[in-house]
Amino acid sequence: MARYLAGRIAGLVLILFLVCLFTYLIFFKLSPDPAVMICGKTCTPERILQIRTVLGLDEPFLTQFWDFLSGLFAGRDYGSGVNLIHCQAPCLGYSFQTNQSVWEMILDRLPVSATVAVGAAVLWLLVGIGAGLFSAVKEGTWWDRTLMNLALGGASIPNYVLALALQYVLVVKLQVLPFPSAVAFSDGPALWFQSYLMPWIVLATGYACLYARLTRSNVIDTLAENFMRTARAKGLHPVLTMRRHALRPALTPVTTIFGMDFAALLGGALITETVFGLNGVGKMAADSIAKNDQPVIMAVTLLAAFFVVVGNVVVDLVYTGLDPRVRIR
């Protein structure tokens, strides 16, 4: 197990390093010159050079990349003289647009993305798995067909359409919810819940529909297995049969998918956060791309990659716990 873990962690580090390198390479070679954007009006070539020097953009690629990497683990200095700023590890640099520490920006916005992700995940697991189980048990009935048609429809609605439609109906017309905003829990649990409810619903809808279909097909497959026939032949109560024998193998693939989906969401729900103006990592990514704010783009790319890669490892470990057939010795 320890060897397996060590191997996985080494792989994780390698993948993150490669993501880092390629992302940096793309920005270094292909992206527009941020110095020109910062320079703006009444710009002169001298001023552009000066900005490039201040930002360290005049250094060779490998030097810049090394500075970036070493900054992640040991911190680094920016500027000079009285304007010298020491960026503490983990240093992801400073936003070209705002001069803000990118690490602090992430720390500031991650709780919002996490709140959106966790709330949505709870919702889609409850609804998706519940509906899938119910559909599987009622296979072939009117209930089954209706639920699966609803799931197909729900999965087809784009997030931004659902978001704007819900906002119009629930906030503008019926006035049962406030306009979504990143309210802190300390501002009042009820307001916090109301403010996040719509983003949760929007984000959970698509996933819940997919999970319902996935759960249904897995449960139906499992119920047809020989060991299930054996369990029923032994005279076990149907509920017990379902809980003890059917659910675990049926939900193992769902767990795998969930791990990946949830990890990806922690990197920011770009569309939902942008539509609702929730200042999470997803919105930060959208804003930084629009503004060509390279350090921030680098950071959110790395963060998303980190969550996906770590999520992958965690899912594999959980998988081994769930399914004795793939247990590591």
């Binding site: 954007m37 320079c39 000066q50 500027g79 705002t98 629009a290």
Partner: protein, 561 residues
């Protein structure tokens, strides 16, 4: 300033907004809710401001666009500022911390200012001439001084001066006593009082603000101070107890505070402003989206709508270094052929834009309305025939992939079709657009862009765009790359004029002189259309801040709500 800065003002895209712009002057169609300077506003309450983007910088030597300049007036004061009021009231340069708009000597090369009494920073320390000097010196700091260039352009300084943190005191700004500050300029400049309105003339206690300290915690000299700031999310201002209303003739400062919410989706902001529920009744916002125009026509919404010029000109530059466009007859033909009415329609219709005829927008002081190229296809065809291009040619137009820009580009494309000018619309991502068109080696035949002045004078409009000596390899703003000796000479002559009114009139004539060469096609003057909350009072669009609501006058009709 580029048009993008105006968009930032109206909460769209601060990243590219890097300079100050003039704003909407006289309300045009649909103006109704705005009352002169804080009329109808009670004292107290909190005004909410819903925005798509955060302000570029809280540090005034870094930030420099119409939106942030407007905001700065809440927390900072300068020696001079713009007046408060709709129309020309908001474009007058008036004394702020100084007792007058300055005393010139040495043929406008030396300017002396005396500070008022009872002026303090937020910590209660008096604002002295030393603080003014230090605040201005910060503009030379190589890392912080990225905002307005006017201090560096106008004030005499050694070539190697790098601001107070690195080089110490600047001898050309004298402080003979605590109340007097004297500026020595590089050359005579009659309109120095207008330049002083720029945000990098804000005083700060000596030695403060190194690195990026003011970007998170500014030291206020205005009626409000920053209580809390979460970049990109929210900003809360509360009253500065050391600000004395008696010393300030401009800022009404009626509310007890302001709350800014950043990062909201444009459509969501519009939805909230139209609904006007709860605290949104106390809210103001930037310009509405084009898609919302149809929904503001009801009487209830109309009475909460303000409209006015943004003070900028959207234009199509014609690159005079390109083969066909090097011929003035071809550029004139294009000017005659482009139908401005269809361009206005492409830009969202007459609610959002008015057709442009001259280079300078209507808000520029001294500007004369004239139309050198009314739509005339026969004349256009004749000019092309004379130029030997009667069979047409291909033209590449650089455009941002933004709906309104696309609409205008298509209108231009259609207008030039009858002349057999095949316009190829070349979309360049917004994040790289200005870099590409500002690099002569990369720009194509034409570009769809815009310009806003730093204050409402031709001085910050025509020279940056048409002075041939301004053409640079990167960050170029003379997109037509026109280098005409007569125009350059006239620019120099006007710059030396000591009578500001005469200079403004001369710029208006220069506008005509430039348009004879047809280096650009003026397309539209865009308008800022904004919806205010039902409990908002004293809101009007200030010409000097890109047509944004003047924050120093806005308040609540019923502060208890």
């Amino acid at each position: 300033m580029r048009r993008s800065a105006v968009l930032a003002t109206v909460a769209v895209f601060t990243a590219l907004a890097l300079t100050g712009c003039g704003g909407a002057s006289t309300p045009v169609s649909g103006a109704g809710a705005g009352d002169p300077a804080a009329a109808g506003a009670g004292t107290g309450g909190t005004v909410h401001f819903l925005l798509s983007s955060d302000y570029s910088h809280l540090d005034p030597v870094r930030g420099w666009d119409g939106g942030v300049n407007n905001f700065y007036r809440l927390i900072y004061r300068g020696l001079t500022t713009f007046g408060a009021g709709p129309g020309t009231e908001g474009t007058k340069v008036v004394p702020d911390l100084a007792t007058t708009t300055g005393t010139p000597s040495d043929d406008n090369k030396t300017w002396t200012f005396t500070l008022k009494d009872d002026i303090f920073f937020e910590d209660g320390k008096p604002i002295t001439s030393e603080a003014v000097k230090f605040g201005v010196e910060r503009a030379w700091d190589p890392e912080a001084g990225i905002g307005s260039p006017y201090a560096k352009l106008l004030i005499d300084a050694p070539k190697d001066y790098k601001g107070p943190y690195v080089s110490g005191d600047l001898d050309t700004i004298e402080t003979p006593d605590a109340k007097t500050v004297v500026f020595h300029l590089k050359k005579p400049y009659a309109d120095f009082a207008s330049a002083l309105v720029q945000p990098n003339f804000v005083p700060f206690p000596k030695g403060t603000g190194a690195a990026d300290a003011f970007d998170s915690k500014p030291i206020a000299s205005g009626p409000y101070k920053v209580e809390s700031y979460r970049r990109g999310a929210s900003l809360k201002l509360v009253r500065n107890p050391h600000w004395k209303a008696a010393s300030d003739t401009v800022r009404a400062a009626k509310p007890d505070g302001f709350e800014f919410t950043f990062g909201l989706d444009g459509a969501t902001i519009d939805e909230r402003m139209l609904a006007g529920q709860g605290a949104d009744a106390n809210a103001i916002a930037g310009a509405i989206q084009a898609a919302t125009v149809a929904r503001i026509q009801t009487p209830q919404i109309k009475e909460r709508t303000l409209s006015g010029y943004m003070g900028c000109t959207t234009y199509m530059s014609l690159n005079t270094t390109k083969k066909e466009l090097g011929d003035v007859r071809v550029r004139q033909a294009i000017n005659y052929a482009v139908n401005k009415d269809t361009v206005v329609a492409g830009d969202g219709g007459t609610t959002l834009a008015v057709k442009a005829t001259s280079i300078q927008p209507p808000t520029i002081v001294g500007r004369v309305d004239y139309d050198p190229y009314p739509t005339d296809m026969a004349k256009a065809q004749q000019l092309l025939n004379d130029a030997g291009l009667g069979g047409g040619f291909a033209l590449t137009l650089d455009v941002r992939p933004v709906a309104r820009q696309q609409g205008m580009a298509v209108a231009i494309q259609e207008a030039l079709k009858p002349l057999k000018i095949d316009v190829k619309i070349n979309n360049i991502d917004t994040s790289t657009f200005y870099e590409v068109i500002g690099t002569p080696a990369q720009q194509h035949d034409a570009a769809l862009t815009g310009w806003c002045p730093d204050w409402l004078s031709g001085a910050t409009f025509l020279p940056p765009l048409f002075d041939g000596r301004n053409i640079v390899a990167k960050g170029n703003s003379n997109l037509a790359q026109i280098d005409d000796e007569a125009i350059n000479k006239r620019i120099d002559e006007i710059a030396e004029m000591t009578d500001i009114d005469a200079a403004n009139a001369a710029y208006s004539e220069l506008d005509k002189q430039i348009m004879e060469k047809a280096p650009i096609v003026p397309l539209v003057y865009e308008k800022n259309v904004t919806v205010i909350g039902g409990n908002i009072a004293g809101a009007y669009l200030n010409d000097s801040f890109s047509g944004g609501i003047d924050l120093v006058s806005v308040g609540l009709e019923d502060p208890s709500k």
